[in-house]
Symmetry: C2
Subunit: 124 residues, 2 copies
């Protein structure tokens, strides 16, 4: 049985912020949907995991210590492992993430938004 | 330096069919853009790699030996490793693929469309 994931339907099923929902797994990578709004993500680093940010709606500024990029709908960027970064949403932003199964939400940094685990959208 | 990939811009840069272009790499997975049209993909299996198909434009039927799903824009499915499959585009279809670096294009099957390597979009 092939499971079809409809991204828009997925987003309609939750409205909490900074809480990525797992919607698929491919070769040890989780595909996640997340809504973000407000400047709440601390500087953090994933020592061994790259992280892909794909904007579907809204604008997302992705910052490293020495550069910055603003993503618009239909654009993605990949923050390589070991690079300290944070993201700043402009408005309400819908994102797709591609991240290693088990990645720490905000690296080794604990913040207001930090989660210990991720929900699977099917479990909501 | 963060590289921003604009998906629509990427598709404007090529028009060949069944020839996935690598636009990013995240944790050993390649993000690829591909245009497909016509019923040309043979039944094949990737023994050790899952494969994610995400439709941006058009419709794609994904078949295994015992099931079938039709993907519309904004929908994806993941064919698990070891599952024989093929895809049938309905019209001209733009797809994003997430696949392991080095995956064989049509598994162990050689077909008219089979490629030995993938181009990086930046090299075009």
């Amino acid at each position: 049985m092939l499971k079809v994931v409809n991204i828009a339907d997925g987003f309609r099923r939750f409205d909490d912020l900074f809480s990525p929902k797992i919607v698929g797994e491919v070769n040890g990578q989780h595909i996640k949907l997340v809504r973000v709004e407000g400047d709440k993500v601390p500087w953090h680093t994933h020592d061994t995991e790259d992280e892909l940010f794909w904007v579907l709606d809204g604008e997302l500024q992705v910052l490293t210590r020495d550069t910055s990029a603003t993503l618009h709908p239909g654009e993605f960027t990949i923050v390589p492992s070991g690079v300290e970064h944070r993201v700043v949403p402009h408005g309400h932003v819908k994102l797709v993430l591609v991240e290693t199964d088990g990645i720490a939400h905000t690296g080794g940094v604990k913040a207001e938004i930090t989660l210990d685990r991720y929900e699977h959208l099917d479990d909501l």
